[in-house]
Symmetry: C2
Subunit: 269 residues, 2 copies
């Protein structure tokens, strides 16, 4: 984080679907950078087309440049187009909100969402950069990601987002091992109050996780039955998605997932 470009790029992280437009002072406050610094950096970002300044309020917002970049990536390596149908299927099967996230540098980026059509549903604020350790999506991805990323994450600052957030490194490591053994991750209100998340990893061609797909439900609604339905659906969809993006399911995960599915089959109901 000491390099100037890194600081400049944190400015981009300040924009989300919640706050698509941000002012200069606000950016400075959020990032802890000096106003002048932010101003100069934003001018540069605007020059590159990554942000633009429109309207009388002089607020900044993301610029057309990001559309171009996304287009280039999606054209040469389509993923959102592959994830979306899987999420639609998940949402209709489970009746809950499904979303997909990709490992994006040292964090997790939510790239696709399909909200359920229930009256009471989890409506997630997509577009935010999510930490690994507070979300089921993050834990699922991290458990099967490059070991170096796992270590770097565990040895970074792990802030709590709710009263339920696990921040203890030893406990997190244990949780990751459980995820690795079961093939799926769960988060009971670790990232947001009243949200229960379940996630499974999706893989790259090299057999390491590229991201994850997840289903989020209101915590009070979670039942063993629903839980089982969600996990089974996730495992099945994830396999398809991994295949469609040209990924390889590693043996470790394949075994873990099979074990979990088998254990459900034995249970009554």
């Amino acid at each position: 984080m000491s390099t100037t470009v890194a600081k400049a790029l944190t400015l981009l992280d300040q924009f989300s679907e919640d706050t698509p437009e941000v002012g200069l002072s606000d950016l400075a406050r959020r990032t802890g950078l000096d106003k002048a610094t932010v101003h100069r950096m934003m001018s540069v970002l605007a020059d590159a087309g990554l942000v633009e300044q429109r309207g009388a309020a002089r607020l900044y917002r993301l610029g057309p440049g990001v559309l171009r970049l996304a287009r280039v990536r999606e054209k040469s390596f389509p993923v959102t187009a592959i994830f979306q149908p899987a999420l639609d299927s998940l949402a209709s099967k489970t009746g809950e909100t499904a979303h997909a996230s990709l490992i994006s540098g040292r964090a997790l980026a939510t790239i696709d969402v399909c909200e359920s059509n229930r009256s009471s549903r989890v409506s997630l604020v997509a577009g935010e950069v999510l930490p690994f350790h507070t979300t089921a999506s993050g834990m699922a991805a991290l458990a099967f990601a490059y070991p170096e990323l796992r270590e770097r994450t565990l040895s970074s600052s792990l802030s709590a987002k709710t009263a339920h957030t696990v921040t203890d490194v030893k406990l997190l490591r244990q949780r990751l091992e459980e995820v690795a053994a079961s093939g799926f991750a769960e988060s009971d209100q670790g990232n947001e109050e009243d949200v229960y998340g379940i996630a499974v990893p999706v893989f790259y061609a090299d057999g390491f996780a590229s991201g994850s797909i997840a289903v989020a439900t209101p915590a009070h609604r979670m039942t063993p039955d629903l839980r089982q339905t969600i996990i089974c659906a996730l495992i099945r969809e994830a396999e398809k998605v991994t295949f469609n993006v040209g990924g390889t399911v590693p043996a470790s995960y394949r075994n873990a997932a099979a074990r979990s599915l088998a254990s459900f089959a034995k249970m009554p109901g």
Copy 2:
């Protein structure tokens, strides 16, 4: 261009649909930066998720971060979703390839394309950052853009891309005045050999151009009839698009477009 962030951002411009993956030395060569510098910058960009390095070849490609950013922008300010149907309509009406570009900092970013279904058609390399002065899209946008952008562009280095490219500032200024008077821009092989482009501007709420929509045809196929068809269709579609993005058509353009349409009506055929 002297700031380090600007240099780092030029690295992102090296990725296009043509070359979605680039190596380290290649990036250094293209940008004129030192290998070590590029490596450090790419590491930072990768940390932010804007690029990623996959596969044994260690090539860099755009990362999931750009998907997130595009999603955020598109959710709060949908434009590609608005441009696309207009382009589809243009392509079917004219039988030629249509595309939309937005002013992205000090250049033009192509964000949407609809190729015609003809056997011989202009197949454009989208995703590239286009200069203003070589393309019809660029001239259409520039003629109605903020004066400061126009001046800055005209006083920058204007390199030629084909033998037909106009690089003389005085002549370009004259062309821009013609565009302002007629409401549309034409480029006869100024950006690419054998490509004839016609474009009209699209506007922001403040009455300045946000970008343009254009139709590109093989130069040899262009006829007065086709030209008229294209221009009329463009003007009509552009008005709709401007309205749909919440933009305002300035009086100057409205008059110019009306004049052009009227002049065609008077003509035989």
